[in-house]
């Protein structure tokens, strides 16, 4: 009954093959077999979104998906955001705007925001809060996460970014 099957999918651009029982959840495969431990587990009721990954162009909670359902899928995790050692605008935004503290929700927040900004490159604050509602954070109170997403949205749209912090001069604008 619990015979293992081979599942092949693309993870951050690389092909991976894993042998899993049908009952194995994608989050466990990512963390324990693929050793991508950025996606986290914060609940067992599909609320917190710490396990969010990008799955065939959708933000999904990988705790509520079976690995066997990922056959042929294109999966992106937080480990795939930076390119050539250069932080993605969102990672830079979360850093510049202090959008994290303990960092446990951050990989899920980043992957959700990654998809959000592709669907809506210029979201209002209300849209950011609504479309990030599947991700819980215990540390930040969300305020700086909104600023971080706004920072990244600006940078992705026109290549410039300015920190909202009055004492910080963002150097992001000079690097591109």
């Amino acid at each position: 009954m619990s015979k293992k099957t081979m599942v092949s999918f693309t993870l951050n651009g690389s092909e991976v093959d894993v042998a899993v029982e049908p009952r194995e959840l994608l989050i466990h495969t990512l963390r324990e077999k693929c050793l991508h431990t950025g996606p986290h587990i914060g609940c067992e009721t599909s609320h917190c979104g710490a396990c969010t990954v990008d799955f065939n162009g959708m933000s999904v909670k990988s705790c509520t998906l079976l690995t066997v359902q990922a056959e042929g899928a294109d999966v992106k995790t937080v480990e795939g955001l930076a390119q050539g050692g250069e932080l993605h605008a969102l990672q830079e935004g979360f850093m510049q705007e202090h959008g994290l503290q303990c960092g446990f929700c951050t990989p899920g927040m980043l992957m959700r925001a990654y998809r959000l900004l592709q669907e809506n490159p210029d979201p209002t604050e209300a849209e950011i809060r609504y479309w990030m509602a599947g991700n819980l954070c215990r540390c930040t109170g969300y305020q700086n996460i909104v600023k971080a997403v706004q920072y990244a949205a600006r940078k992705l749209r026109d290549g410039t970014a300015e920190s909202s912090h009055p004492l910080i001069e963002a150097d992001a604008a000079h690097t591109h």
Partner: protein, 288 residues
């Protein structure tokens, strides 16, 4: 967090899925979006021996209009409903409802058909389907039958669907031009099931209520169509007295269970208030 072991099947066509369902009977469950079934399996409330994944059945996808009737594939996701230009033009109530369901990630996976067939009184689509006068296309090995939403929901997690049937599509008559609508949902936070909610469609003619449908979410062991409340309005002028009477009758139709969302009295009162608000908004949106 860890489900019991099971065998996984990923049929490529509807006949293949029906054959698997026939072969495995009561030991099998259909896997749609997986955002009710997998959570129950992770807590071991459900322990099926076979999961039949409907994810590869293209024939269960899509949103089309044919002769004044919308057809929505059962595997259409909540976000696909929300982003549908056709629904925005022809059936905005469904979008207003879907936007209040769960959260973005859940809406990428959870499907209209799964929300309906789960039969959870906390789910929002049953009330929306009744307010929209929808009907459901059920496919079995012997053929297809169509059953109306009103009457489909018979108890908590219990519907008219047979264990050997698959819900393939949902049919919704395009609401007549000028039909008002609203889904008013009270919840503790984004992503929660309703404490109480009310789905309303309303059509006015010559200063009187021509037709109205009212359905209530999560205030009984299943969705409730508030027919007495509808009768308080049909043929009457739309004024505070008649709206109040409808709200009182909606409250009388409730049979809520106390839980962490509130006791019976609170939920009953909120069902009345949601009905009042949904009616007023539906009236504002109607041609009158």
């Amino acid at each position: 967090m860890i489900p019991r072991p099971f065998e996984y099947h990923a049929p490529q066509s509807l006949p293949e899925a029906l054959a698997l369902l026939g072969a495995h009977g009561d030991t099998a469950k259909l896997l749609a979006g997986g955002h009710s079934l997998l959570p129950m399996m992770k807590l071991r409330f459900a322990q099926p021996e076979h999961l039949i994944d409907l994810g590869k059945l293209e024939e269960l996808h899509g949103i089309r209009e044919e002769n004044g009737v919308l057809w929505i594939g059962a595997m259409t996701t909540e976000n696909e409903l929300i982003w549908s230009a056709l629904l925005e033009a022809k059936c905005p109530l469904l979008i207003e409802g879907a936007k209040q369901i769960a959260d973005p990630q859940v809406r990428y996976r959870g499907t209209l058909g799964g929300d309906i067939t789960h039969g959870d009184p906390g789910n929002d689509h049953p009330a929306l389907m009744i307010a929209l006068d929808a009907s459901f296309v059920l496919q079995g090995a012997q053929g297809e039958r169509v059953v109306p939403a009103d009457g489909f929901f018979v108890g908590t997690y219990a519907t008219l669907i047979e264990p050997t049937e698959i819900l393939t599509g949902i049919r919704i008559p395009v609401p007549a031009a000028g039909t008002g609508y609203c889904y008013a949902k009270l919840k503790r936070k984004t992503g929660d099931f309703a404490t109480a909610a009310s789905a309303v469609t309303l059509r006015m003619r010559d200063g009187h209520v021509d037709d109205v449908r009212i359905a209530l979410t999560n205030v009984g062991d299943t969705v409730i169509r508030a027919t007495d409340a509808e009768d308080a309005l049909r043929g009457q002028p739309f004024d505070d007295a008649h709206v109040d009477q409808a709200a009182r009758r909606a409250m009388a139709a409730c049979n809520p269970l106390p839980d962490l969302r509130g006791d019976e009295d609170y939920k009953r009162a909120m069902a009345g208030e949601m009905t009042r608000r949904a009616l007023r908004t539906a009236y504002e949106r109607s041609a009158h």
